[in-house]
């Protein structure tokens, strides 16, 4: 870890995106996580995705709870507002922020402790309400800041650093999100940028609750032999079900694939997700089948990754609540306060 300020100078010929910005413009402060932490790779993937999507950083807000993962929003997008709330309660703060201004994009970053334990209830209800946001769990199966206790996503067969056994079954957050009604559910690996970046780009283009469970090994407390959240275990047991290509609006598709092996889904901003099916039987629009698939791999001691479920038909929170098409935070006295005559007629009705 380091507490040195990041140097501001950079190479003059760094590539620029459609807004004329470089990747450096999307970075944040220097990370204070352990060297090699998976979370830093996720931050880098977010930076890359936002850069490639040409997103204006100030039109995005970063939300988090408490824990190592929740610290990371400081380490990317320094021109975005951020909100590091209380443990497990990011979903409610993000919901409120979303109601106030639905025109911003929201990235929530949470951990397995923050989401699968203390914040399980809030997570479930944010999913159920279809809050328009990208919710990333940086999942390492352990409580890092308090030095390595098991979390609720730690698999039953996974041993602690000193060989301790785990008595309880793990919670599969991706399966949970599908069951609760999230309209975009993916699982990635912090060490696989090729898979993660397009998935984040697609999630940020999706309207509704997009959930990505990112297996992000804790190099200090959960990267040993016997752990099922270690780099090594994951590399050996990951099974990609789909490979995701993100195709920006107006971008042409050049590669050709065998019929039936790809699914193109048009997202709300008219960009496309191209899913290359690595498992021919997989149908990402069928939630029951997706769940079955995840569980089948789990039984085999494998972890299914990729974009697992996608539903572009469901509406998001603002539409469900039938709210006006302008952000509530832009309305002033004239739009919000009835006049004295209205109040006088209310008085009259109370006499």
């Amino acid at each position: 870890m380091s507490y040195i300020a990041k140097p501001k100078f950079h190479h003059p010929n760094l590539p620029r995106n459609g807004l004329g910005l470089t990747r450096r413009d999307y970075e944040g402060a220097m990370s204070t996580l352990c060297a090699g932490c998976g979370h830093d790779s996720v931050s880098a993937a977010i930076v890359e995705a936002c850069f490639e999507l040409n997103l204006p950083a100030h039109k995005l807000a970063k939300m988090s709870g408490i824990g190592c993962s929740s610290k990371t929003p400081t380490y990317f997008l320094s021109k975005s507002h951020g909100f590091n709330s209380v443990h497990g309660r990011m979903p409610s703060v993000a919901t409120g922020a979303n109601l106030a201004n639905n025109e911003l994009k929201y990235i929530g970053v949470s951990g397995d402790g923050d989401t699968a334990s203390i914040g399980f209830g809030q997570f479930a209800h944010a999913v159920r309400r279809q809050v328009d946001m990208l919710y990333i769990v940086e999942n390492n199966g352990t409580y890092g800041l308090t030095k390595g206790q098991f979390s609720a996503t730690n698999d039953r067969v996974s041993l602690g650093r000193k060989g301790q056994k785990n008595a309880f079954d793990s919670i599969d957050l991706a399966a949970m999100a599908i069951q609760l009604g999230a309209s975009f559910v993916g699982r990635g690996f912090s060490g696989d940028k090729e898979q993660l970046v397009p998935m984040i780009k697609a999630a940020l283009s999706h309207k509704g609750f997009a959930f990505i469970d990112v297996i992000s090994p804790c190099v200090t407390f959960n990267n040993h032999n016997g752990s099922t959240k270690s780099f090594e275990f994951f590399r050996d047991n990951e099974r990609s079900i789909t490979a995701t290509d993100y195709i920006a609006p107006r971008e042409s598709i050049t590669a050709e694939y065998e019929e039936g092996s790809v699914i193109d889904v048009t997202l709300h901003d008219s960009s496309k997700v191209r899913l290359r099916k690595l498992d021919a039987n997989y149908d990402p629009s069928d939630s029951a089948a997706a769940l079955q698939h995840i569980m089948k791999h789990e039984e085999l001691g494998e972890v299914a990754t990729g974009l697992l479920y996608l539903n572009v038909e469901d509406t998001e929170l603002k539409e469900k609540m039938d709210m006006v098409n302008v952000p509530l935070n832009s309305l002033g006295v004239a739009e919000l306060r009835p006049d004295s005559n209205k109040l006088e007629s209310i008085n009259k009705s109370l006499r």
Binding site: S80, H81, N84, S85, N347
Partner: protein, 608 residues
């Protein structure tokens, strides 16, 4: 002959449909221009348990609760014995004489009306027979008390406009009772109602509805809440007024968002998220909800995010008496959350203030960038009060506080979210999405420097914490100030009170006057306390402080926050769950002045 001065109580079975008939009776008296204070005394139950409706009628406008019942309408066999006992000697008992009952008191007058029999003869559907019994006793009362029958008939027509089929049977039911009373009893009784102009332009509304309406006029757009008695009707009133006043005319869409959250933690979390993002948002809750919201309140205090919270206090501790009233969350709210945290409290005394203070609270929360808690209670929130009409000042806009827009940010060399630029302890904030390059900051509950950066530097943390104290002192001048009693008597004795106790004070003062006890009064309306409160205590030898809790919580707050001599402040306490009466206040003060002070536990605690 007693005119316009009595207490009538209706003893009913919860869920039997009595509430609307009882409300009709109270409103009819109000429509006759006579001040009235109806109170529902209800169990935490949906159907079956005893419930009461107590209504004080007082031409002088003394509408605090008064002990002793002049007229008891005893419709519930379960509570019959207890109800009979509550009648004052010489008072009346109105009962359903279809059933033969033993009445063991000979010092009361009885009015037996065969309500069940009369309704069974007239109505055929069982539910109608049940419901119209209630309307029939109201009809009987119009005869017995000489009430204006046209007024009540008019109200029935108004109530069922559009459902005209229901008008005739309701009026029938009224007449069944009225005609029986006129025929068999000497009407009017020696207690009666007489039309008056004492109500003036006042309105009849409960505090929760007033608070909900106030939020509409305050420009609140987001409400997040979790159902809990007695606060539920704040959110429900907001929703119903929003449907009338906040639908976009062109699209039919909502200029508001109301979320029934999964719990109180989520409710306050949403409120904080929305306020952080520049929408006016509020929540409403009661005791247990305050406990659950405490962590988030600490975050809002430290990260300086506005929030408005209505706490409709009920009887504690724990689940306590959810359907009874108290003022027992003062310390829990003033210091909600761990660490050195304190919050602004506002104490409304009537529905008009629930409305006004809702508007005030949003301005204060945004001006001061901190939570503001409005401390109502069940008596105020869930009962209808005779209260002054609502008014707004159209010239006054919303005070959104210190928020920088893009142009202003361009002029700032380096934006510091927690910099005290103006020396009042209040920094500047920005909404997300304002400026592409400047003004972004990281809101956090961790210790931070003036630029919102994380720090573990103790001296920086002390600086931030000191500024928060400075800001709290600034608040003293901005919150609603205390109100002095109208007749300052320059006594050596003072009396402090707050919230719903106010309704009993004028009557208590008159009673004390009768005993030749002169007292100066001051009503506290907010925490932090302004200097006037301290001066009032300083300028009196002894100060009584009336509270509806066990531990004299406001006294503890005064002792803790002000440079005053604790021994001077004598608690006057009532916490049985019923609204405090003038008689209770007077008796406790008189007793204390006679030297028989009952030592309250908290005296010693507070004095340490």
């Amino acid at each position: 002959m007693i005119v316009n001065d009595f207490v009538i109580k209706f003893a009913n079975v919860n869920g039997s449909g009595s509430a609307s008939a009882n409300a009709l009776f109270a409103k009819a008296i109000f429509r006759m221009g006579v001040p009235v204070a109806p109170k529902n005394i209800f169990p935490s139950n949906i159907q079956g348990l005893p419930t009461w409706f107590e209504c004080r009628v007082n031409g002088n406008g003394y509408l605090g609760r008064r002990d002793g019942i002049d007229i008891m309408v005893a419709m519930n066999p379960q509570s019959w014995d207890e109800d009979i006992k509550a009648i004052l000697p010489g008072g009346y008992l109105l009962y359903d004489s279809t059933f033969i009952r033993e009445i063991e008191r000979d010092d009361i007058k009885t009015i037996g009306i065969p309500l069940t029999q009369l309704c069974n003869e007239r109505f055929t559907i069982p539910r109608e027979r049940q419901l119209f019994k209630n309307v029939a006793y109201v009809g009987a009362l119009t005869g017995l008390l000489d009430m204006d029958f046209d007024v009540i008939k008019g109200m029935i027509s108004e109530q069922f406009r559009g459902k005209d089929k229901l008008i005739a049977p309701n009026i029938d039911a009224l007449e069944i009772g009225r005609n029986y009373a006129l025929k068999y009893f000497d009407c009017p009784l020696d207690v009666r109602v007489e039309s008056s102009d004492a109500v003036g332009d006042q309105i009849l509304i409960d505090g929760n509805a007033a608070a909900g309406l106030g939020c509409v006029f305050a420009g609140a757009t987001v409400a997040a809440w979790y159902p809990i008695t007695p606060s539920t009707s704040v959110a429900e009133a907001f929703e119903s007024y929003c449907h009338k006043l906040r639908i976009d005319e062109e699209t039919g869409q909502k200029k508001f968002a109301i979320v029934q959250a999964e719990d109180e933690l989520a409710a306050i979390g949403m409120v904080i998220g929305a306020n952080w993002n520049g929408a006016r948002a509020f929540t409403a809750t009661s005791g247990p909800g305050i406990s659950l919201m405490s962590e988030f309140l600490g975050l809002a205090y430290f990260a300086e995010v506005p929030a408005v919270l209505f706490n409709i206090q009920r009887g504690g501790p724990s689940t306590g008496m959810p359907t009874r009233t108290q003022q027992s969350d003062i310390t829990a709210c003033a210091y909600a959350s761990h660490g050195d945290t304190k919050h602004i409290l506002i104490f409304p005394s009537n529905p008009t203030e629930c409305f006004d203070f809702a508007i005030e609270a949003f301005d204060l929360a945004e001006r001061l960038q901190t939570p503001v808690i409005i401390m109502s209670d069940l008596d105020l929130g869930m009962n209808e009060w005779t209260t002054k009409p609502f008014k707004i000042d159209e010239a006054r806009g919303f005070d959104r506080g210190k928020v920088l827009n893009a142009e202003q940010l361009d002029e700032v060399e380096r934006f510091g979210r927690y910099l005290d630029v103006d020396g009042d302890g209040i920094p500047y904030r920005t909404y997300p999405g304002t400026h592409p390059e400047k003004g972004a900051f990281f809101t956090r509950g961790t210790s931070h420097n003036e630029y919102a950066g994380y720090t573990e530097d103790g001296s920086v943390n002390v600086r931030v914490m000191e500024r928060l104290v400075h800001k709290f002192n600034t608040a003293k001048e901005l919150v609603p100030g205390p109100v002095f009693g109208q007749d300052r008597q320059d006594s050596t004795i003072g009396l402090l009170y707050f919230g719903t106790t106010a309704i009993s004070i004028p009557e208590a003062m008159e009673m004390l006057d009768g005993r030749d006890i002169k007292i100066d009064t001051m009503r506290i309306r907010a925490f932090p306390f302004s200097k006037e409160v301290e001066d009032f205590i300083d300028s009196h030898e002894k100060v009584f402080l009336v509270e509806q809790n066990r531990d004299a919580q406001l006294r503890a707050l005064l002792v803790n926050e002000c440079e005053i001599d604790p021994a001077k402040i004598v608690p006057v306490l009532n916490y049985d769950g019923s609204p405090i009466t003038a008689k209770c206040i007077v008796d406790l003060i008189a007793e204390a002045l006679a030297g028989n002070v009952k030592q309250v536990e908290s005296n010693t605690v507070a004095a340490e």
